[in-house]
């Protein structure tokens, strides 16, 4: 059996790089990457050389210099004496705030509208169609500006609330003021606050200073609430176990409600929690929480716009679940809302989550339209005023791009973890 000849000794020749299909694709890829790298190097070099000709260098030390401008919505302490870097952080927090609020609201709106669009009720499904098509097909900027204009032009000025017969009055028992500068809602203050500095006594006739509040107070309250939540979950799990074992479910709702509410209520009482309503003082309302027009317009527009897309995603996810699934559920005697919650939605989620991630990313990036209504997000602080006052366009834009890149990757990373937990477990 020596008919099999030895395979010819592989001797590598340079021409094989082109003519041999084993090596050709490798050759092409290497050459293409070299060309791309050269192109990028040329672009970067060209930018640096031309900026140099203009007398500009790339430096980031402007971040450490004094910003000099004020920002209206601050989630952390900031004044005009702070640095540009801190101003950028204030902007970043504002971006995160509106993105977070927007993602939550858009999800709620989107899931509701998506489910309702499939409703058998003709009026409801048509109304949802109008909503989805109306918001999906008009540019987001127009919605932001429209809501902002409605707020500014349609609502009363703070000075209309003044006088014996004011042109406008506060709603909800003098607790909420809707003005053309935003909505003022009550806040919770703590009389025995742990961290807050004692507020200055108000001179004009009022004896007690307004109760303060600090991060420590809220950390305490939310921490207790969080712990209670896990406590009541434990009770539920225990009840589930008993039900599995004996078939009888102990009544636990009062226990769970008690665990959820009572510890938090005690902490609030000890801290001396008190509702502080906004009231008119000087030019504006003071106290309470000021939801600025810009935040409301941006938040609503982003939520409604992205919600329309999410509604379509939800609808497609539900329709992707085979009709046999719901028929089987009905055959078992399940009610329609059980069918939806226990059978359809869990399966639909597998189709819904991946495109939902990109909608969250869209919403976050679209929040950079904030400048149109003067919302001080990171685009307006770092990418707007800071760039303008320091003349560092390239550096500012690079930082801004980096921020959005990191934020988007973080969001998709977190959502991918969630996606892995709901996707079909293949065994």
């Amino acid at each position: 059996m020596s008919t099999l000849s030895e395979p010819p000794k592989a001797s590598f020749r340079l021409s094989q790089l082109i003519y041999d299909t084993r090596y050709r694709s490798l050759t092409i890829q290497v050459i293409a990457s070299i060309l791309i790298a050269l192109g990028l190097a040329w672009l970067i070099n060209n930018t640096i050389v031309n900026l140099d000709n203009l007398g500009k260098d790339i430096k980031f030390d402007f971040l450490g210099s004094q910003a000099g401008y004020d920002i209206n919505q601050r989630l952390i302490e900031y004044d005009s004496q702070d640095t540009h870097a801190r101003a950028a952080i204030v902007g970043i927090l504002n971006t995160l705030l509106v993105a977070f609020l927007g993602c939550i609201a858009a999800t709620i709106i989107g899931v509701t509208a998506g489910v309702l669009r499939l409703s058998k009720n003709w009026l409801i499904s048509k109304l949802m169609t109008v909503y989805v098509e109306g918001f999906r097909n008009v540019p987001l900027l127009l919605w932001i500006l429209l809501i902002f204009a409605l707020m500014t032009e349609g609502m009363p000025q703070p000075r209309d609330f003044r006088g014996d017969e004011p042109a406008a009055t506060m709603s909800l028992g003098d607790n909420v003021a809707v003005t053309n500068r935003g909505i003022y809602i009550p806040r919770i203050g703590f009389n025995n606050s742990i961290g807050a500095e004692a507020a200055e006594p108000v001179s004009d006739g009022e004896d007690t200073p307004p109760p303060g509040s600090s991060g420590v107070d809220w950390l305490l309250v939310l921490g207790v609430l969080f712990a209670s939540f896990f406590g009541q979950r434990y009770v539920k799990q225990r009840a589930d176990g008993i039900q599995e074992d004996t078939g009888l479910r102990p009544t636990t709702w009062y226990l769970r409600l008690g665990i959820l509410i009572i510890p938090t209520a005690i902490v609030m009482f000890v801290l001396g929690a008190q509702v502080v309503s906004p009231y008119l003082k000087g030019f504006n309302f003071t106290e309470g929480v000021h939801l600025r027009n810009s935040l409301i317009a941006l938040w609503f527009a982003l939520s409604l716009y992205t919600g329309a897309f999410i509604a379509e995603i939800v609808r497609s996810g539900i329709m992707a679940v085979s009709k046999g699934q719901s028929e089987a559920a009905f055959a078992l005697g399940m009610r329609p809302n059980w069918t939806m919650n226990l059978v359809i939605l869990p399966q639909a989620l597998r189709v819904i989550i991946p495109p939902l991630i990109s909608q969250y990313l869209n919403l976050t990036k679209n929040s950079s339209l904030a400048l149109a209504v003067g919302y001080m997000d990171v685009r307006s602080t770092l990418g707007g005023i800071t760039i303008n006052q320091t003349g560092r366009e390239l550096e500012g834009m690079l930082l801004l791009g980096l921020f959005y890149l990191v934020l988007s990757l973080l969001i998709s990373g977190v959502m991918n973890i969630y996606n892995n937990s709901v996707k079909l477990q293949e065994r």
């Binding site: 401008y69 000075r159 053309n180 500068r181 030019f283 005023i385 303008n388 366009e393």
Partner: protein, 339 residues
């Protein structure tokens, strides 16, 4: 959209700036039009009239330069810029000069690498407020909501003023004068602050200007003037001396009414003769012909005429000359001699 404009401008800066920095005069003459950056619309300084023709005090400077360089006062391509986009537009070469009531400051001159060629309006930052609020001094503005054009020096002055007086305010940042006007009239802010001249111009365009007043405090020095890029000194000279020619013309009594006579032949005043090119050839030093200044003055009149026509006391804006009078009348306008 602002995003793409800015990024686009940066890209343009990356690619074309090297070429554009060299010879602006040659570029303008070859193109046949002057690209002049102006505001998005501030009545009296730069705004399109009913026929869409740009007019105003800053526009007059653009037209004068176009007349001097190209011989045609209408050969101007007006590029609108906001407080945010103006410097990028100039640095990238999108515009040849910026005449957009821009304050001459140290950092803009040095760090941003621009060249302010002179001052065409001495201004200061003021406050406008509805009369019905009954405020008589800016120091009573504690807690007020203030509309402010973002990306301007006024933003920094405002922060300084309220901080040094130890009072608080709520800033509402706004992109353009038109938006600020709308917000202010809707009552979304109590106060509007910008250069006093701009306030007067804005107030003049209100339906009932009398219901609004300017507070007496002027909280800053705002010398406004045209500017060009660093690096092309010949072009900077042309813009600088065109502005000086307008100022000198008023001082020497040369106006659009008598320039045809004075410019026809050498007269008795040697300074006027040198200015109008009937004696000597100052224009050739800048690469222009002898009539350059005569054309610039004929385009819209001398400085005084431009002032009276656009923002003076007989216009709705009604600004007094004040600091902007000739030095001979107790003002600050003082052109170096033409010789």
């Amino acid at each position: 959209m602002k995003h793409s404009v800015l990024l686009g401008a940066i890209t343009v800066a990356g690619f074309t700036a090297g070429a554009a920095a060299a010879d602006t005069l040659g570029d303008v003459q070859e193109r046949g039009t002057l690209n002049c950056g102006v505001t998005t619309g501030l009545v009296g300084f730069a705004a399109p009239d009913a026929n869409g023709e740009w007019e105003g005090f800053d526009v007059g400077v653009c037209r004068a330069v176009a007349a001097a360089v190209l011989g045609d006062a209408s050969a101007v391509n007006f590029v609108t810029t906001t407080g945010q986009t103006r410097f990028t537009a100039l640095a990238s070469g999108e515009i040849d000069m910026l005449a957009r009531n821009t304050t001459w400051t140290f950092s803009r001159d040095t760090d941003l690498a621009f060249e302010f060629v002179g001052i065409n309006y001495y201004d200061g930052q003021g406050f406008m407020i509805p009369r019905e609020l009954g405020v008589s001094s800016a120091k009573d503005l504690d807690g007020a909501t203030v509309c402010i054009q973002t990306g301007t020096t006024t933003e920094l002055n405002l922060a300084d003023f309220f901080r040094t007086n130890n009072i608080s305010y709520e800033p509402v940042p706004i992109e353009t004068n038109a938006e600020a006007q709308q917000q202010y009239l809707a009552g979304a802010c109590d106060v509007y602050t910008t250069d006093a001249s701009g306030l007067a111009a804005t107030r003049a365009s209100f339906e009932s200007p009398d219901e609004h007043m300017l507070l007496p405090e002027i909280i800053s020095k705002e010398p406004l003037g045209p500017l060009v890029r660093h690096g092309d000194h010949e072009w900077g000279d042309i813009v600088r001396w065109t502005l000086n020619a307008l100022i000198a013309a008023e001082e020497l009594g040369v106006s659009s009414a008598n320039i045809a006579d004075l410019g026809a032949a050498a007269g008795e005043n040697p300074e006027v003769n040198r200015l109008l090119g009937t004696e000597g050839e100052l224009g050739s030093y800048m690469g222009l012909d002898a009539d350059w200044a005569a054309r610039a003055i004929a385009a819209g009149g001398n400085y005084g005429e431009l002032f009276e026509k656009n923002i003076g006391e007989n216009t709705p804006i009604g600004l007094a000359r004040g600091l902007n009078a000739q030095w001979t009348d107790g003002g600050l306008l003082y052109s170096p001699p033409f010789r």
